[in-house]
Symmetry: C2
Subunit: 410 residues, 2 copies
């Protein structure tokens, strides 16, 4: 069994250790919820203040051109691109993840006009389910959205399927799907593939080029640490640019926005998918948050992430044998950067941990969810979190009456 001393030694050898200092953290807490909302870094704070004081404050309206505001959605897209294996010019930062999925699904359905089915995962994040259903209902022809068991994808794929949308890492279990194999399978059926990278970007290496992914979208507030409600990003494979239409066009996606032309003519490339400018202040936060990737790589982060989730799983299984149902796959290639532990009193367990300064979250009906974020977490944090979990289970703190309402399963 790994000891605390061994964890301290691991941290001493950790090449990412110094990056923790970039983040503003409460040293009395262990933050295992960066898969929901990443923390602030000094670079974010500094960049936002600079944009407020200098670009907006002094430059005012001139900064649209002089400070490059107009180009921020694509410039920041190019900064996100390496994290998903995209080429420059294939990624855009704008709107929110759900709105971007509406743009991509709406556009994609027009590329397969003779097909009438969209497949998605019944276990998908519900916002994806809602927006895809709404877009399908308004597609101008009868489209059926089938929310399937993703393990049955083979059986569901046929020549009536226009599009498959899947979330790459399951938000509940942390299971990572096989990007390349699934995309290939979908293409074999003549359908298009749209991936939701909400729980993948910044957590593990993605290779949209190698996997021939058509479209993808993700968020920036989880593993990219761009702040609450931070902008979404979308990927449109170069092959589809100029072909895929933006069903929600706006003036900033026009080829000549300042010519005030009555008819829409799409700008070249992914710029066509900008509707209006997202908040420049929110983009500044993302810009600052991405600086950390100048000092590390997604491969380095992934290696530490796997080591941390391995460590967490093994410590929990050794110290709390048979107490939890491990929902997260043990195989590395099938794991994201979180661990989901099932327990009938999951809600109370998470609350009792939060009271002890270990911040995870609860997902209905029975999941304790813990995100492991190598940029600012230490191996010793993993050890201490398990220590707290052991105490919560030993003392029965999770049975407290205050948690009873969300602890219905007995």
């Amino acid at each position: 069994m790994t000891t605390r001393e061994e964890c301290v030694a691991l941290d001493e050898r950790d090449e990412l250790a110094a990056i923790r200092d970039e983040f503003i953290l409460d040293e009395r807490e262990i933050y295992l919820d960066g898969n929901s909302l990443g923390p602030v870094s000094s670079a974010v704070r500094a960049r936002v203040i600079d944009v407020i004081d200098d670009q907006w404050g002094r430059g005012l309206v001139r900064s649209w051109g002089q400070a490059g505001w107009m180009a921020q959605p694509t410039r920041l897209g190019d900064r996100v691109a390496p994290l998903i294996g995209a080429r420059p010019g294939e990624v855009l930062v704008a709107d929110t993840l759900t709105i971007l999925i509406a743009k991509l699904v709406g556009g994609a359905l027009e590329l397969r006009p003779d097909r009438h089915v969209v497949l998605t995962d019944a276990a998908n994040f519900h916002s994806d389910l809602y927006i895809i259903e709404a877009v399908c209902q308004r597609a101008g022809r009868p489209i059926t959205l089938k929310a399937i068991d993703r393990n049955n994808l083979d059986a569901e794929l046929n020549d009536d399927v226009a599009l498959v949308e899947l979330t790459h890492v399951d938000f509940r279990t942390g299971e990572a799907l096989d990007l390349k194999a699934i995309t290939a399978k979908v293409h074999e059926a003549g359908a298009l593939m749209l991936w939701d990278f909400a729980h993948s970007t910044g957590a593990l290496a993605l290779d949209v080029q190698g996997a021939n992914v058509d479209f993808a979208a993700g968020c920036t507030y989880k593993y990219l640490n761009a702040g609450p409600g931070g902008p979404g990003f979308m990927y449109v494979r170069e092959h589809w640019q100029g072909v895929l239409e933006n069903p929600l066009p706006g003036w900033l996606g026009h080829a000549r926005p300042f010519d005030f032309e009555p008819d829409f003519e799409a700008a070249d490339g992914v710029q066509a998918f900008v509707t209006s400018s997202p908040s420049i202040i929110a983009l500044a936060a993302l810009d600052g948050a991405l600086d950390v990737w100048n000092r590390t790589s997604i491969d380095q982060v992934r290696a530490k992430s796997l080591a941390m989730t391995d460590l967490f799983i093994s410590l929990v299984e050794e110290r709390l044998a048979r107490v939890f149902n491990l929902y997260t796959p043990r195989e590395h290639e099938r794991r994201g950067s979180q661990v989901a532990l099932g327990h009938p009193h999951a809600y109370g367990i998470v609350q009792a941990l939060i009271e002890r300064g270990v911040i995870g979250d609860f997902r209905a009906p029975d999941i304790c969810r813990f995100g492991f974020t190598p940029l600012y977490l230490r191996y010793v944090d993993v050890y201490d979190a398990v220590e707290h979990l052991v105490e919560v289970m030993r003392t029965g703190a999770y049975l407290d009456q205050r948690f009873a309402e969300r602890n219905p399963v007995t």
Copy 2:
């Protein structure tokens, strides 16, 4: 003719004068472009830093509940509501203006399923034209968008018109339309009315209740000073809540977002139109920006705005008689908070003014556009701006070769 001394005296008596100190301005400049992008206020800066350091920095993911982040779109909507004459619960802050127009047009078309025409203004802001056209094309039934001369609205209204969308204050000329009369006319024809308040909100009093407006949307980065790319807002009359569907639904608009239900069930009220959370940092900027309205009223602001635009028009006409074509109506009730002067060398004139520290903007083909924003402009600024304009015209600075490319008209 009004003298500079009289302007100084007007400023001394001005009850709004002290509010200027809230804004961060370069005293060497006269900023007449607040109708494009308002300046930073100290409250904005402070609120953003507080949200970064305290709510995000310390509260982290807990702030979704504890700091009220979940409720920010409707809470801030309630702060905007009095500026447009709406009731609490009728306004939402989210997304961007163009995306909100997509939601409202898409929803409204479903309320008039037997009608096939949408009317808008050929002189409308082009982003409105693009998004409405795109939504009409994808409405699931044949819909014709007619971009008309707004003065011919009577002739175009008939029982096939589902919806009329107009921008209340023309972005080029600054002409304000008659909210109540036009809305009544549209209702008489059995159609629905959607107003774009981009150039109205914070500039003049709006009474959506009194005018029976069905739907409206606006932005927060002009006269509300919430910063570049700041979030949009939308108004849905109480009567239509629970009836109008959000065609772009997301999890935060669900009745029970944390129950992770597979099917969308709209939340009560305007909350149903939240798709995902807009940037909390951008909302914080808006929150700070709205504080100034605790110290004044839209009626007080409007009175000074009319006095300033009257002063500007009269000084220009006295000192530069017959030089410019006044595009902005002289009648108060038909005027927004900007003045548009037509001139073949408009581009060069605006550039030459900017070089002298008077910041206005150019709108194709021939408009010098000047916004008058009573919260932070003084009467003496109006006087001095005209002084600079006189000098630019007298010296011919606008004919400089550097401006030639955008000065094609001779």
